[in-house]
Symmetry: C2
Subunit: 328 residues, 2 copies
């Protein structure tokens, strides 16, 4: 899992970013990074290969001229205004699945807020063992280690809080009207652009840790999506008509979610319910909800304080904690 070249490059990048637009001598870089010269040259080569514009001049050293939108820890931490989330970052070029690694990190004691992020996932996970299409450098594929002091029964509410933070962020940054599709998707129009996969380890009345996977289609073009999901899927770029900064989106999401997360853990879902309902794609619509081997048909009328979807059926009213919804 460790990645020495990337780790070295992170150190050099940090120094170059701190001196953005100015030349930094080889000596200075070697001192601040504690890296031997060979690794230093190798790291600069790698950063250039990855897309960083690094000028060099004999006798003056190296100068970073222009930032990119790559998901390096140094880039994410730069100006990140959170208290907990993203204080520890594990960033990768390629991972099987950010949830998989975050789960392992959580098991071995990683702090609350630890962020695992990768430019690409080769086996991105969706809900119920499904896969999540995670191509390189176009989306945000990330997982957060959370340690909320709540029982497992409250977890559906947390998943919805993440959706709320995300649609609010997308609205604020890009002016796009995004919706929460209970329990774990985010839509623009009727198309999915993001999903949340919550995994947890718990005792019966106490979550030990949760791993919250968030996948956001940021910069895919229509033809980037495999044909079988193209109709139901979209990206922020497609909807907005231009590329967006993934780093900006990520940082704003982390700040927005942190606020809601702390409120939710402290006081529950009630304070967010009206906003969640306002941004729900299902309310007052005919739905079929599958859960376990059961399914019900009716009208989605509410999302309650547990985060359950309340469905009015012919025979009464039923609150469902989580399931698969299709519109009628």
């Amino acid at each position: 899992m460790s990645n020495p070249i990337r780790n070295d490059a992170e150190k050099i990048l940090k120094t170059l970013k701190r001196n953005e637009g100015k030349f930094v001598s080889i000596k200075e870089m070697a001192e601040s990074s504690c890296l031997p010269r060979f690794n230093l040259y190798q790291s600069i080569g790698k950063l250039r290969e990855w897309g960083y514009a690094i000028e060099s001049e004999k006798g003056k050293g190296y100068c970073l001229n222009q930032t990119t939108d790559l998901l390096f820890s140094a880039e994410i931490k730069d100006g990140l205004k959170t208290k907990i989330l993203g204080k520890e970052i594990h960033s990768y070029h390629t991972l099987k699945s950010t949830n998989l690694l975050a789960y392992k990190l959580a098991e071995t004691g990683s702090a609350e807020g630890t962020l695992v992020i990768s430019e690409k996932q080769t086996a991105g996970k969706g809900r119920m063992g499904r896969s999540w299409f995670s191509p390189s450098k176009t989306g945000l594929w990330m997982s957060l280690v959370l340690r909320p002091d709540i029982p497992p029964s409250k977890m559906p509410g947390l998943s919805i809080c993440a959706g709320l933070a995300l649609v609010q962020t997308v609205q604020k940054l890009f002016g796009l009207e995004a919706k929460i599709k209970w329990p774990n998707d985010c839509l623009i129009g009727e198309r999915k652009f993001a999903g949340i996969l919550m995994e947890l380890s718990a005792e019966i009345d106490q979550v030990r840790f949760a791993v919250m996977g968030v996948g956001i289609n940021a910069n895919q073009k229509r033809m980037d999506f495999p044909s079988d999901i193209r109709k139901k899927t979209t990206s922020i770029r497609i909807e907005l008509g231009e590329k967006v900064s993934r780093l900006e989106l990520l940082k704003h999401f982390l700040v927005g979610f942190e606020k809601i997360y702390l409120g939710f853990v402290g006081k529950g879902l009630a304070g967010y319910r009206q906003e969640i309902k306002r941004r729900s794609s299902l309310l007052n619509r005919g739905v079929k909800v599958k859960f376990g081997d059961k399914s019900i048909i009716g009208t989605a009328v509410d999302i309650d304080d547990n985060g359950s979807l309340v469905v009015k059926t012919k025979t009464g009213v039923e609150a469902v904690a989580a399931g698969e919804v299709s519109l009628l």
Copy 2:
């Protein structure tokens, strides 16, 4: 974790048990166990050391004369009438914690029903990070890997089902009136003799696996317990006045629990509710229930279909999914 001497001994034990009371030649043992002679002699030595009465006679071989109450896989499987539970057994002389190993096995794909059992735990786990006193060869310290197709919110019910199976087994085998202390203890009189520690890995609406730890004080004497827990703790031996067969208790519990488990996963808790209520130590008594940073005081009036304890307080009726109960 692997234990080659114990594994070899298991093979020899199996052959000797199959021929109980009869002599088995060295040649036959070597053939049926596929072990070299050195390992064979070593295994017999170990089995004797562990307490097996194995007679030997020149030219005739070895003969197992008398069974013991040791928790070897071969002993547990002998006559075990289950369909799922204990089909795969990992038995140990010493483990840190059976739950810890079972959780690892579950994560790496071990089948439903896999049993981990140890004569002794050096770091036995109780609920909420507490420890569980697990001395050698006096109790049953075990964990089962379960893969129930239920949401995490139903897990408290499963914990109670395990308690029900255990108190029924103790009643049937030893005629002792045992009670379920919601949510996860079993009592004789007001003293605890067993506890259940349920751990789970899940998505928000689907348990991936559960590890059900069961600790049963079978053959401890009063003075075996540390003084700080002596007053609140008991064993079956103390209550019955004689040593019991741990193997018999284990096998009957596995059969009893399997039946309830399959019923619960298929049809829920409703069918067991009356029996659970009848065997509950809390109903119609004044209780204080702590859950999270909240606590309520009232009378325990019901256990509902979710396995929640229903408490009638001054201001109304509240159902608690899991918590810490003390009697008023």
